[in-house]
């Protein structure tokens, strides 16, 4: 099996606080890998280290064969993320936001045009293409945020709490988009929502206070904990393991 990400003893300390504790993890290529954990578990810090936003205190990770410590520039060209907070340029239209990000990743004018059209259609954003991003609802903004990450053709997409704060319908709508991408690229998803991880993930990791407590498929985690539902398995892992 080939891996998109190989994390080797990755560690992050903020002063005396250990946010991520010598993490060891391998993420298979093309999979949707969910990282679960309560607040302060180290999910976002892990993603931030893997995308070059935070420098690790120790350890390393190979992202598509490139070290995040020694070859970060190469890593940045191959990955993209949709941050926890909606990250769009508020006064630009939906189309302009997409063109802007494609331009930042060095696409030429022709490719920007072609990719923008493709992504607008793929995400059903055509109808709001000329609306300013700040006028969109939370669900549409989050959709645009993910579309902006995808327009750069990343081989790995990091989705940090992609449906946080969205209503049920908007969440389900976004799940559909994520499901469509499965198998095409590697996705790393952090979430608080058990049903989200259950519905979307190929593999799930559970982090508690910076430590990796369990990794496996949904069935493996249920078997490991002797539970029927992911939520029960999660609680058991967090409280007892």
């Amino acid at each position: 099996m080939s891996y998109s990400i190989e994390i080797k003893g990755l560690r992050k300390e903020f002063g005396h606080k250990v946010a991520v504790n010598d993490l060891e993890l391998k993420i298979p290529e093309g999979s949707l890998f969910a990282i679960l954990g309560v607040n302060g578990a180290g999910k976002t810090t892990t993603i931030r280290m893997l995308t070059g936003l935070t420098t690790p205190t120790g350890g390393d990770a190979l992202v598509l064969g490139h070290s995040i410590k020694e070859d970060l520039e190469a890593v940045k060209k191959l990955v993209n993320l949709s941050p926890q907070e909606t990250s769009v340029a508020p006064n630009l239209t939906v189309r302009e936001n997409l063109e802007f990000i494609a331009g930042i990743y060095g696409f030429d004018r022709e490719k920007i045009k072609q990719k923008t059209l493709q992504i607008l259609e793929q995400f059903g954003l055509d109808e709001v293409a000329h609306s300013k991003a700040k006028t969109l609802s939370g669900g549409w903004q989050r959709k645009l945020s993910i579309a902006m990450a995808l327009i750069t053709e990343p081989r790995i997409l990091f989705l940090d709490e992609p449906t946080l704060g969205l209503d049920v319908l908007a969440r389900r709508e976004l799940w559909k988009e994520i499901e469509r991408l499965k198998g095409k690229i590697t996705m790393i998803l952090t979430t608080h929502y058990m049903e989200e991880a259950e519905a979307l993930s190929d593999e799930i990791a559970v982090m508690v206070k910076g430590d990796l407590k369990a990794v496996g498929t949904l069935e493996e985690l249920k078997r490991l904990t002797g539970t029927e539902k992911l939520e029960d398995a999660f609680v058991k892992i967090v409280e007892e393991m």
Partner: protein, 253 residues
């Protein structure tokens, strides 16, 4: 290339904010008109030349740059408060791309503002019996170029150092200082004393005097004013780049 893409985005963000037009273009024009009316009300015996259109035109062109600083600081601090910069920090953009991307649109805005200011001053001059020499206007614009970088640098500096609520407050101190001791609203040379010493120590008086020089018969110490303005602009801009870079690291920590 990335810096130009970022610059285009920044320009669009600024131009789509109606306040840009009010402060960057409208306000200097209104000041020009009001102060010209004030000038007409001052008796000739008072020998007060500071509000004469040949002084007011370049003075307000300089003063307008303080509003450009205000917008640059608001843009940088606003960007820092949103997750958009987080996304960009994870992209292949380098710190220099951000600096160029913030500087270019502000320079364009400043040049447009100066153009409008001098055209308005030219028209007011014609109405009041003074014809601005075109060559002198061009020289004055050239003389104002280092000050564009000074105020852009100050905008980026404040926008990087503090949040979007505090940045306009810091800018208002500079706006007041520029107006008071820059020699736009009062004759600093005539005042002398501590005020002149303070004015000499800061770049604003030098920048304003430099902008007025092409309209004077015997401009004095032009090289001193130019050197001081350029030195301050370079120092402030480098400082802004350092603080932006440090804050960028801190923001994503």
């Amino acid at each position: 290339m990335k810096s130009f893409v970022f610059a285009k985005r920044t320009l669009k963000e600024i131009l789509r904010d109606p306040l840009s037009y009010i402060f960057c273009l409208g306000f200097p024009l209104v000041m020009l008109i009001i102060m010209s009316v004030v000038d007409r009300s001052i008796p000739a015996q008072a020998n007060m030349t500071v509000f004469h259109i040949e002084n007011l035109g370049p003075g307000i062109a300089y003063f307008g740059l303080t509003f450009v600083m205000l917008f640059s600081s608001i843009q940088v601090s606003k960007d820092r408060s949103t997750a958009l910069l987080l996304r960009l920090y994870a992209s292949p953009m380098k710190p220099a791309d951000y600096m160029i991307g913030y500087t270019l649109p502000v320079c364009i805005l400043a040049l447009v503002q100066m153009g409008i200011c001098f055209v308005a001053a030219f028209v007011i001059g014609l109405c009041t019996g003074y014809t601005f020499p075109i060559g002198a206007i061009l020289l004055s614009v050239l003389a104002l170029l280092p000050s564009i970088f000074l105020f852009t640098g100050l905008g980026i500096l404040f926008g990087s150092a503090v949040n979007e609520k505090a940045a306009p407050g810091l800018c208002s101190i500079i706006i007041t200082a520029t107006g008071m001791i820059g020699g736009i609203w009062m004759d600093i040379d005539g005042l002398g004393g501590v005020i002149q010493k303070v004015a000499n120590a800061l770049p604003f008086y030098h920048g304003v005097t430099l902008a007025k020089s092409p309209f004077r018969e015997n401009p004095k110490d032009t090289l001193v004013h130019l050197t001081w303005t350029i030195v301050c602009a370079v120092v402030v801009y480098i400082l802004a780049a350092i603080i932006f870079r440090n804050k960028m690291k801190k923001d994503i920590r």
